[in-house]
Symmetry: C2
Subunit: 236 residues, 2 copies
DNA sequence: GACTATTCTCGTCAACAAGACGAATATTGG
DNA sequence: CCAATATTCGTCTTGTTGACGAGAATAGTC
């Protein structure tokens, strides 16, 4: 560790990027913005941007960019750090390292697109991750990592409820799993499993019937965050 | 996203820090170095340092610092990114964000301490994480996160073998679990579980008897990386 | 109102994995 | 040779999961 004198320490630009995932229209979707300036002008990219100042906290920068570019409120949204991407050359202009965050959102209230963003759109990740689809910078890789994070967290946490409205049915919750994992689950076994996890769901006592069929019980998110034992993907 | 002109983008110093974990002397230990300069002079800290230049890759910086400060070879060591810490004020001199890596090492070959480091020492994490123990910067929090990463990865990956010598016995492997988790495991059930995981272990055909008792079979690491189903902590 | 299609919920059974533990095996040390 | 110890195999019981039957409670249709 040659621990250089302060003026010899190289400095680089630091950005934050956000992978906001939501379940919508029967698919897992991600929020993207159309870039208004080069490089990658007019291409789709993750919302994000540089630190506002050298003293801005990373988490604060993430929350701020989320608000500015998509109009969403970070407090209501479970923002967590994903990982940091810093390969030289990932931004053609200069060295940039970007600290990426993932957020899991229930159905988005507003069609967003307010604020500074030229245009905020939701796109199915299945479509985004297709080899043909071009995404700015290395954001496609970041999106793939974010999706894998979501898939994996459904296994051992109660994250799925974060994709649901404040009150939701067992089927709403199951559909989150089915859509994120791309896999059908047995409604009866799923019901038994979830009911058996202490503190996952709180019954509201209310019922809704949105389709023909027996009305479903409405639940709220419970205090539990971990699933023990886990609910694993990949059938044996 | 006001996407500032390039010269208005704030730049910050970027460091990498390394949490090198190993199982030694019946406890989970972490590699620390004694700082030779302020701030936190003479205190223990994670090995690490600033990027060598604005064009150095993060992974490369991590491997280089590992080599420089501890003499260990990154190629042989499973280096993975942990997370990035960037709270303003975490370095009293100036704004620094640090991209942290974890490494999992078998018994260390050399007593290390070569290279640039003033002094590299192994310390039990149990001792490091005690409230009384003072560690430079926010490195105690980083160490806690690294330990939790290790504990959690033992559950659903074959990581434990990375803590073992190239050839090891079932008991060696079990002791890694017991030491990292701080929990006793039944040798018979553990044996059955591990043997049942395809590709975790490759029998060498050899045996060793290092104690009184039946000699143990020697294994090498197999190609498997995932444990399905997982081996969970926390008994029901 | 009766009937049907549909969906939610509860329950059963078999397959499988895991915890508890008995016991055979193969060594060290006396 | 004997005791102590560690490794490995096997058994029994318990709990979880997958597959699936069946009742409950609705919407829509005639």
């Amino acid at each position: 560790m040659p621990e250089p004198d302060e003026w010899t320490i190289p400095e680089v630009a630091v950005a934050v990027d956000l992978a906001v995932l939501t379940v919508h229209d029967n698919s897992l979707q991600i929020m993207l913005v159309k870039r208004g300036i080069p490089p990658f002008e007019a291409m789709l990219a993750l919302p994000g941007g540089f630190l506002a100042s050298t003293s801005e906290d990373l988490d604060h920068a993430a929350a701020r960019e989320l608000q500015e570019e998509t109009g969403l409120d970070a407090q209501a949204l479970h923002l967590e750090q994903l990982r940091t991407y810093g390969t030289p050359g990932r931004d053609p202009r200069r060295r940039v390292i970007t600290v990426c965050y993932v957020a899991f959102s229930p159905q988005l209230p507003v069609p967003v697109a307010g604020g500074d963003a030229r245009e905020a759109v939701l796109m199915p990740v299945e479509k985004v991750l297709k080899p043909r689809t071009r995404i700015a910078f290395d954001h496609k890789k970041i999106i793939a990592d974010a999706v894998e994070r979501a898939r994996s967290k459904l296994e051992y946490t109660t994250l799925a409820a974060a994709f649901c409205a404040p009150e939701f049915t067992m089927t709403d919750l199951r559909e989150v799993y089915e859509i994120v994992w791309g896999e059908q689950l047995d409604p009866r076994n799923f019901h038994r499993k979830i009911i058996g996890v202490d503190g996952f769901l709180i019954p509201t006592g209310k019922r809704v019937s949105r389709q023909p069929g027996r009305p479903a019980a409405l639940y709220r998110r419970g205090p539990a965050t971990a699933l023990h034992p886990a609910m694993l993907r990949f059938r044996p």
